[in-house]
Symmetry: D2
Subunit: 454 residues, 4 copies
């Protein structure tokens, strides 16, 4: 053995037990009594978790002004107990998904601090996409995304249907952002016409009905195509209703929610404009009464995954450009570093989730559904992506302690129980004692297998 | 290490992976790469499963005529890949549950071939029961059963409510046989009045409506008491509907089905009386259209466990007594040896369950829900109750090859894929090459922890 | 024509239209343009409604101390726009339903101010009941009642099942009071043990769960018997859920609610004991959030009827006896005079019901479901039971203005829109200008037809 | 009185009773005992029904080749017990709805044999539509239609939303043809690509999923706009599910089915191409198992109306043009003359509907929902549109006995019970003894009121 983590309590999606974890060649080689003289790390009194898997991030390639941002955001992942991230990458309309993938692979190569992969965003589905998609799947990126809204990103229903069909033939999977464009555009137009342009009107422009409609439509299109469907950032019981019915009908429909829908609510829009602006996320924060439905869905399996929907927004840039209207604010908020701690604190400490289910929704199930065959579980043969987790320690989430490339956190000042004290990527320690111990470019591109839909 | 099982594919409720399993002092000490010179067993090309856990059996104490039957039935369990059995034991009305437990512990002590435990059947809930129940829980038997029907066994609703409340206070759990007595007695009386006494009328006497009503009533009583509820032998979608609604409301309601409801149907009552008599089980075999609902329920978690409801009936005895009317036939059928193979064959080979979910419903979840903290999973620290399973081999289930103390099997001649080739109990091999390699009395009474309801 | 009501707006369950109503021989002989010189009454600016039908009352036979009470309560009905009342009459356990009916027919004969009929309460179902029930149906009383709670009144499930079956064979119908006895007795015992005896604990002793369970059980028993079922005084959405599912399954299940569940709530138990005591009604008043479910159910047909559950309680008597514990208080409250006004005010003025649906649930549907073939509608051939209703007038409901034999009203001081200004029974005016214009004994026993279940 | 129909059994949505019906100035002036010496018609032994109201027809204006077709189809309505028809009229994209209405009013003026009105089909919703719609409502046509499919007719979602909003502001109502265009076009393209062009592939191109998706989307758009919604020709339980949920949520959503979905099934597509071609209707005929859901929906109010979706197709023309591919066949089939008889025969004789509900769904509710204030009921003050109906007589539906302008009937040879023997329009007899007794142009344009949504 190269390294043994001794004396901790191993947590899997299935159970928790005292065991040493032996690591060899970057993989988990033994669990239990691990003899020998290998170097040892003490985890007594702590949990040993699989490294988190965040399948929903929006990383950015380095630019001259921000040469470090991909490095920073992946390092932030590590500090947040996440050792694998999948990022959406956008294939412009009419462009080549394969070319997009090549460009990103090259751009990320010497940057990432944790392992990573990509989902290509399909904005249309013409000949080029039809030709490229099989190659992209072959290249280890079997999942794609379609947006049902946004001018530049939206894929029309007819193309979405084709995307469902072709990806399903190749045993890939579509992820879909479900909101109804017609209602959204109408809502925005009406608010603007009434002079309601402040950030606090963001939520009013996209109520749960928009999400419910689009969720059901996406399910119908996927069903017609015989395709699986992964619904990103589900935020409300109205949409969850359709997921439940789809699952009950035996359809391979999966759904993700995000920490901000679990712990924040629409009262955040009531503050001053510059505070409200931080929460311009889509779907928007919902009524507090939605929380119990989402936690309940995570607990009983109607919801499968918690993703971060991390967007490294910089408010300073927006201020510099004089952006004030909610429609002009780039949607999103950072979350890559806070995802795992918030689910532990809100879910496990909050009494909504068992320790095992917490591991399941933040690591095990996302790994399985996205073809990350070597990730997401403390299991022999998996990569030794491990986290030593102090379940009792508490800290306040504050921007100045975080590592992402965004310049704020939506959780400023929030006290959370649960702290990752040491983090390992393929057996090498990358976070220790509050310091980054890995290397820029130490994260590898993961050639993913096909999604496990069972 | 005392023993290493090498080269197999370990299956847990969560995943499957190639790993050695190291055993020390009867427990699983290491999983993965297990170095050293310990004796090794080759499991290459085979699955390594946790020993099955059958929480629903009706064992019988030895008598002069049948001195071997407890031994035989527990040996049969071992041959059927099951290494822990929990048996119902009946506390007569007004009797002492604790005394019942003592009598059984003494009677089983030198007999059992696999590990075992008991659930006391509560037939009333007066002062004696109130006094004894905490002591029985203390003694490692935290689960009890109530029957809503049968003259000798039935517990009245008021006592059932008290039982729910007191067991819940002590963090135990009630298991309930749910059928409506009023409708059952009425149905029987009407059939008898019409001269419909043959075994084939058994099913007509207790249609799904009886089970649905009682299932909902039991849920309501448990809910009022703030108690968990385990519904035994659920057989139909009508009852499953209420379980689903209870789970959706966040109640700790669990449900079990049995192999005979999954693979047999009510066409079995159409044969000659002596054939039909074999299937006088309650609830009765249902319409074939129920199968998909039950498999679906197991797959998606509305159903939690498959138990055998093993009853070591002897048709010869019934024939000797001249029993012919369905109401006189002792209900039940043997199943302790066929449970795991039938769920594998019907579920995994039949395409209804993943390999992991098969392990979950036959071993992992029953262990967790019944406080068998060291059973039910291939996990470090658990007892080394292990099965080397040949997933490809097939055989015909026939009475002459089976080992139980009953004199028939309801599955006579049924071909099944999946054969347990070697079985280990706490690290000692008890079945090998089709021979029993354990010892009479080698099974131990398990002092169970409190049920894990999370 | 003997009389013509001219110039009003006739309201039926189906529509409203300007029309004269011609009366001949006590029946509605013509609607529309009614020529001729018959005496005329002016109804211009008013609604012409069918006389209300109250199928849920508990009248009392005269006694020496209270020789007028049946007269008073039926007169109160007339003042409340109700011209037909059906009263429950109790057949003691082991007694003869037919004898009970004879006694009541004799006792009521010279008393009633409006037309009336009876439902016999079946407290058991032995030979006597089996023999009498067909005769009681023949005698024009095809509907019976069973209580699932109360020591003296309760019918056991087995007898209830027999009652369902026999009444259904004769095309009669059972009405059932649905609460779970086991949970009720347990709840009461626990409250008393804690010294919680004040009236305000009444509601805590019988929460919605009790009603939901018993409602579903009654539906199952009726279903098994192939019988229709009329659920009295449904008070909560938990029970309504089962009614909706039963109706969706095509079962002949009907449900009634009462004004107090529609306009009062459990905050009434929070006052001083003597105030709270007025509201000791079963099922108890519920949370205010239930109101919308009940109004919604009435509007869309999940609920069929509003009955009053009129009980002519006299608080003075209770005070004289020193009754203070909630368990000793005779359940019930007066409502025969306030039912129709409260449904109009709460439903029509409150925006929950159309004018037509108001007439439907207070007159037309109760008449149809209870075999009152000549009652409940302004329709040619029906009895000329008519009400001239001022939809705009308002008044305060106060005990001193009411006419019932109770000594209080639960609605003291409540302002209501809608006043019956003239009331006709079979063409004769019985209320006019706030005075009783009918006669003691002017109400007739109605020999009812079989219920219309279509 | 001008005329009295004596001795019949009047049927309303609420009840049935023996009564004379007196007619004066074309309206129902009296019901019941109608004295006087007015001319009388004997209806003894027969039902007196309100004239049917068919709100879903596609009439055609006269052309040189077919100068009589509007006359023929409205005469056919009369022969089929229908005295008011509403026809869709198409406003070409960018055209003026008001101009369309003017053209149709002029073209129909001297043709119609029964009373009539129009719904303008909105194919877009630009400035012209926004300006015209209020005027069209003012002109007595408060209901409009949107198609979610068909190249020439389709309205885009954004325009549909605007149409919902503006019509709702003026208290009008949109009717929507709900099928998903994306899935339809995809299905057609795939079938054509496989050479599946025969009429029998029509159903495969538009399965229930398409209808379910679009039904839910239309409900969501209407809900967002605060608008009522009338769903035309609902054909399957998958769509009905959404209607039920919408109604349960208290939304003003109404749904119509058609006789062909109630009595015909998709086995009709299995015959020779020329037979199958007759059934190219959209939505297509469904599986026979759908029938019970639709009848059940009509019985319990989830479905509100039966419309005919009458299209006067002429197969001869299609043959002349050599049309053979299902995509080229003009969708639709005649039904104006057979609607009422089929609902009576299938519903009342078939045991699914009461006599009253039959009248309700074919006359009373359609009149109410479409602002036909003087139509649809045998009620004082309504137009004397009456049908004397022989409920026992039977006949075979055959093309040579029918009067419509189509050259076939989908019900050829079907025996039906129930025959309209005399039909009156505003008091004048228009069908008698199997002969037309009315006049060309005797039908009047009805200026409709606003829909009654209560």
């Amino acid at each position: 053995m190269d390294l043994v983590i001794r004396g901790g309590t191993v947590v899997t999606a299935e159970g928790s037990f005292a065991a040493d974890v032996g690591i060899e060649d970057g993989a988990i080689a033994a669990i239990g009594k691990v003899p020998g003289e290998a170097p040892a790390i003490d985890a007594s009194g702590k949990f040993v978790l699989p490294g988190g898997v965040d399948v929903h991030t929006h990383l950015r390639l380095p630019t001259d002004e921000l040469p470090d941002r991909l490095y920073q955001d992946t390092m932030a992942a590590a500090f947040g107990a996440t050792t694998t991230v999948l990022s959406f990458i956008e294939s412009p309309r009419g462009g080549s998904p394969l070319e997009t993938l090549r460009r990103w692979r090259a751009g990320a190569e010497r940057e990432a601090a944790v392992d990573y992969g990509f989902h290509v965003i399909l904005t249309d589905f013409g000949e080029r996409a039809a030709r490229d998609v099989p190659a992209v799947i072959e290249a280890g990126c079997p999942t794609f995304k379609g947006f049902m809204v946004y001018d530049e990103l939206r894929i029309e229903d007819a193309d979405l249907l084709r995307a469902f069909r072709l990806t399903a033939e190749r045993r890939g999977m579509m992820m879909v952002h479900c909101e109804n464009r017609t209602l959204l555009e109408d809502g925005i137009a009406r608010l603007l016409a009434e002079g309601k342009t402040a950030p606090r009107f963001h939520a009013a422009s996209r109520p749960p009905l928009l999400e419910a409609e689009a969720t059901y439509r996406a399910i119908c299109l996927a069903r017609a195509a015989g395709a699986p469907l992964y619904i990103v950032h589900l935020s409300c019981r109205e949409a969850l209703h359709h997921v439940r019915e789809a699952k009950a009908a035996g359809l391979p429909v999966f759904a993700e929610t995000c920490p901000h829908y679990l712990v924040l609510a629409d009262d955040r829009y009531e503050g001053p404009d510059e505070d409200a602006a931080r929460f311009v996320i889509s779907p928007p924060l919902r009524a507090r009464s939605q929380h119990e439905h989402l936690w309940g869905g995570l607990a009983d399996g109607r919801l499968d995954v918690v993703g971060s929907d991390h967007v490294p927004r910089r408010l300073a840039d927006e201020r510099a450009k004089g952006i004030t209207r909610f429609v002009d604010i780039p949607n999103g908020a950072p979350g890559i570093e806070t995802r795992v701690p918030l689910v532990y604190d809100g879910g496990v400490i909050g009494g909504h989730l068992s320790l095992e289910r917490f591991v399941d929704v933040t690591a095990t199930t996302p790994a399985r559904r996205f073809g990350l065959a070597r990730k997401g579980a403390v299991e022999v043969g998996k990569d030794a992506d491990l986290v030593i987790w102090d379940g009792d320690a508490a800290r306040d989430l504050v921007q100045q302690d975080l590592h992402h490339s965004a310049d704020f956190t939506p959780y400023e000042g929030r006290r959370t129980r649960g702290v990752p004290v040491r983090v390992f990527l393929r057996g090498r320690e990358i976070v220790t004692g509050g310091k980054f111990a890995g290397t820029r470019g130490g994260g590898r591109f993961v050639e993913r297998k096909l999604p496990d839909l069972g």
